[in-house]
Symmetry: D2
Subunit: 373 residues, 4 copies
């Protein structure tokens, strides 16, 4: 099979997540990066394209020009990865969707709910696919957990505890990554809640399938001068009566990327931690605790990865699985075939923005219960 | 030194916590159990007393009789352990306090806030001591954590996450322990919130010293027919701006006694788990994570126990430390000396009842922020 | 039941293991310490006896006098705990055995194999019991492991890995505990191999029931000036073909009391660590790993302790179980009844000495395979 | 930079390690796979080449033909990956080395020491590079450990414990991977000792830099009908007096790829486990234990990977680092520049074969101490 022709918006020299997307796209050999609008700084865009082996004529000064030019080429890109800061998602996402080019967009979907709605509108009316890189859903044991709950192994889910704790914003800090994430104009109204709270929420939703009812949130900003929240505490109620708590923090010293999910049902529990992603605790009520391993005994097809059990896979492989699933979806789309994937899409993106908005709204109203709809 | 003469109310055959109190009292050899009103069932009381080597004439049919008779004996008990269900704490506690006999009472303090206030009144006007067995405060590494925070090792505390998860009430169950704990007439209005939520709250307060402002609680009862809460989710705000979350559950399959505390300040974090009590994570911001061990390098005098590092101590030793500290306090009291201990007392007991009451009240008001005062 | 009248040889002020024995004897309330020859220093012996509430007339200047006098008293001691350094076990052990008083002796049995044989001879000809405090056999999950192997849950045992790593002798050190343990005249020819290697060997034997064939040992002494081994590496062959490795070290920085056993059979594996003693991994081949907990689901009667699952028990409780089993055996002996216990006895003690001797011999012969018989 | 043109010998459909090499080569985008002799079965070779996008004319029926043809092309491969079973390493390795094409060869180096010597001879006389994929040396925290020991952070190394435990050969099994690994004609005289024992030995040597003196080995074959060892226990002595133990097993139920290294020196210890590769325990004597994380505080430049701390990297990234270092070396070689890398090479390969041979020889001589030279 020919690799899919991929473009990228953002991700120039010094960027973080763009490099991650590129590795993820390479791991399974299904993409070739051939075009980019890698930076709003022209010199940096050019230098970055050169580094990445992109032909000079396909290194563009703007996403708009890129969308236009690539759509017109017979060998134009089939998909584009958007890896800019949040407030710069909507523009390129809509442009490429309108140009009929598949979009693989970083999360959260946008900086505002209005932008999210605009992207959603474009996605619904485009023939192209829209994929949101909620990359943690690509971990095999996350998919294993989802399959087990869907199969009823936990009974009715009652309680969900999810958290994402980091410490890198414990003190005032200024660098490329920190600056835009703590600037409401670029990150949106949510700080920690948008950057990592949405990951935690998405993980909870992906694994449990619970339908949200209302949330009550308490957002804090502990570091002097910080303009967005750096600590988020949320109570959640789900349809059918399940209850949840979500904690996201960027000021919790000792935590690097402590994304952790625990789910308890009438018949058993599950526990998964991103920093130890190849293992999944399954604790059926009244029986010994069991530890499932990726690819190991008792783990189903969802929990198999690229290498055998005991050889750990990590963040990049999970991210690559999103790209691999996207490749499957893109090829099926090209062939006019139906395909079922676990890919996060536009609805997940809009829900994430609703979650951020509800948290900000609830917190401003002293923690009033707020619907997500 | 002569052992302190100890009596016991409750704790007859088939009881659980009474036996724990007795082991705790024996470990350091500072008490001798010489009297008891061990059961409201006369035959069981007598048989239990015989098993424990209590002389028949000091096995009483009621706590009232016991308080009267023991106070009158020249060799009467100096202290009494009250290990009855919650709704039967107030009667004996007040009787013995009025008789000038020191009281070592199980938690929570009582079934209702009114009872708690009555005990507090008796305690304030008695010359005897009142000690509440919030036994988890007896763990050396809990005391180590407290000392480190008091010494400013974490900087200003910002975020506290505490939880106590169990699974033994996941399904409907009927036995001596479960029955009274799920009967509002005997346990009080709180189920899980009273039985284990108060332990979590007390641990948070003991270690951090944070002063509570308001809480917002969501209490659930998942098991059909259950008359009290079996899952509790709480947001907390502290004076000075710190934020906390508390989760207590008795329906979380795979959890036995998962009491766990995490504290994050401007300069570092701490993490402790009751099921692995000899270890304490200390994570100063910007430095490698360190694992302190009971009695090990870097651990201060608060974190030393009875045996050297690497030989684990557990629940019974922590409980025994409450008894040992009580012995110190009782001997100092007898000698008319001042003594400083870390013993939980009547104020902690009343605060625990206020915490239960505030949680029940808040939850009934759809999670409204509620003061503890 | 009346407490058993207990005496103690050694264990005066400043001693370590004597205090552990006393706590162990107190935990279940089955002993009363009434006599002692607590120190070879008369003043210290007297002061120690006073601290412990032993009547002055039962505080003896020598074990010989104590054996004679107590045997003659109608209320004389029924059992004696011997907690002196290794080279001072044989004298009192033989004296009390000859006086018909049960002996509870610390390990290793003695400083030399000749002394061990003499004790064994006395034990065989005495009507009194001889119990060796290989205390790690008192951990519930160690007994659970033993029961599972005996029941065939692992199939035929093939491979055993056992180790006991400490770090307290990493540098030259002089104190009461270190001095005698590193003096061949007091500890015997083995250093680490005698002090902790015997514990590891005994644990392996207790849990697996494997019969030893031959061992090959490499003993090292890393610290300048040290006169005994501080690091021991052993290959072992067992009857029937199983193979084992044993490592004991007192110069492994970061290890406190790292006693750890792993057993692999044709059908599954087991793993236990003394520093996390309430858990036992059971890994049946071809099935998910399971974690058994003391008192938890799937754990049998051997694995139940004094408090429910999730409330950790530790070193002192395991030690106390040896004392509790000894009480059972002593009472049965007094009643002329047969009783089955898991208590380590004289044969274990002699085997331990043979193990030390074989290791020293093998190492001196450049690691030649050496029989234990 | 243009990708390096890569060929592959072995790795056709159904192979395991070939796919791993291909992912490793892709992750950093520095290679393009353009030629192959992927299978000795012509049809499978052709189909495999097609799957991988290799042009039909560069899919060869034999490695000899491939070496000849590629060396003659102006756009011929610059490097070849050899991923055949052990007994088929020597032929292609020598052919490509003689053709001046860099060789990236899987481990162990060969099936026999004679073959190893022949490859070494070819490597010494070739202008091309020879790289052995001891992939575990590519883990950042393994390199961090190596740097810390080299910098004297542990003081003089005294004791090393290394092990590699698996369970996949616990029972008789027949499949593509198992068959050749348990056939002495294809795997060489060593079974577990060659397949995984060499990894453990290499890791020990890479991290500590200790120079071997002699080893004593006990090889076992537990599974009925097995023709090679499936369990290996080794004592090792190093120049300067350090001591080590090595255990490798393929019959240890519950172990997947349990490669674990512990190193103890006069001033501290280190502990690393392949199944949790982003963490490294550093335990300086007399100080609290510290846990270093990949890319985290206190970790040096050797311990940085591709993504920030807390996002786990795994086996494929470590393998990719070998390929990335090889690319650096190959480009430097092409430019006539000197370059320093940590790449395992021909000497490591020969030493591995000597290790296998010494273990087999020692075990046959009842565990006699055997030199590695």
């Amino acid at each position: 099979m020919e690799p899919i022709r991929l473009g990228m918006v953002g991700g120039g020299q010094g960027a973080f997540i763009g490099a991650v997307h590129r590795i993820a796209a390479r791991i399974d050999g299904q993409y070739r990066l051939v075009a980019g609008a890698l930076s709003s700084d022209a010199a940096r865009a050019h230098a970055s394209a050169h580094d990445l082996g992109i032909a000079p004529e396909r290194s563009y000064a703007s996403y708009a020009e890129m969308a236009r030019a690539e759509a017109a080429r017979p060998d134009g890109i089939e998909a584009v990865a958007i890896v800019t800061p949040n407030h710069m998602h909507a523009g390129p996402a809509i442009a490429f969707l309108e140009a009929g080019i598949h979009v693989i967009c970083d999360k959260p979907l946008s900086a505002t709910l209005d932008e999210a709605d605009a992207i959603a509108k474009a996605a619904k009316s485009s023939r192209a696919l829209f994929i949101l890189t909620h990359n943690y859903t690509g971990y095999p044991m996350v998919r294993q957990a989802r399959a087990m709950i869907a199969a009823g192994r936990l009974g009715a889910v009652r309680v969900v505890q999810v958290e994402y704790a980091q410490d890198w914003l414990t003190e005032p800090v200024s660098n490329k990554q920190a600056d835009w994430r703590t600037d409401p104009a670029r990150s949106g109204a949510g700080g920690a809640v948008g950057d990592i709270g949405t990951h935690a929420w998405n993980l909870l939703r992906f694994v449990t399938g619970l339908q949200p009812d209302r949330i009550a949130a308490d957002l804090s900003s502990f570091v002097p001068g910080r303009r967005v929240d750096d600590n988020v505490q949320v109570l959640a109620r789900f349809k059918g009566g399940a209850r949840g708590m979500l904690w996201a923090s960027q000021v919790a010293p000792g935590n690097e990327n402590g994304l952790r999910l625990r789910v308890y049902g009438a018949a058993g529990g599950l526990e998964w931690s991103q920093e130890d992603p190849n293992r999944l605790w399954f604790t059926p009520f009244g029986a010994p605790k069991t530890l499932l391993t990726r690819g190991g005994a008792g783990t189903g097809p969802e929990g198999v990865g690229r290498v055998p059990a005991g050889h750990p896979e990590g963040y990049l492989e999970a991210f690559a699985t999103i790209y691999a699933d996207a490749a499957t979806a893109i090829r099926a789309h090209a062939a006019g075939e139906a395909v079922q994937t676990l890919l996060p899409g536009i609805d997940d993106g809009v829900e994430g923005m609703r979650f951020i908005t509800a948290c900000v709204t609830s917190s401003a109203a002293d923690g009033a219960w707020t619907a997500l709809a």
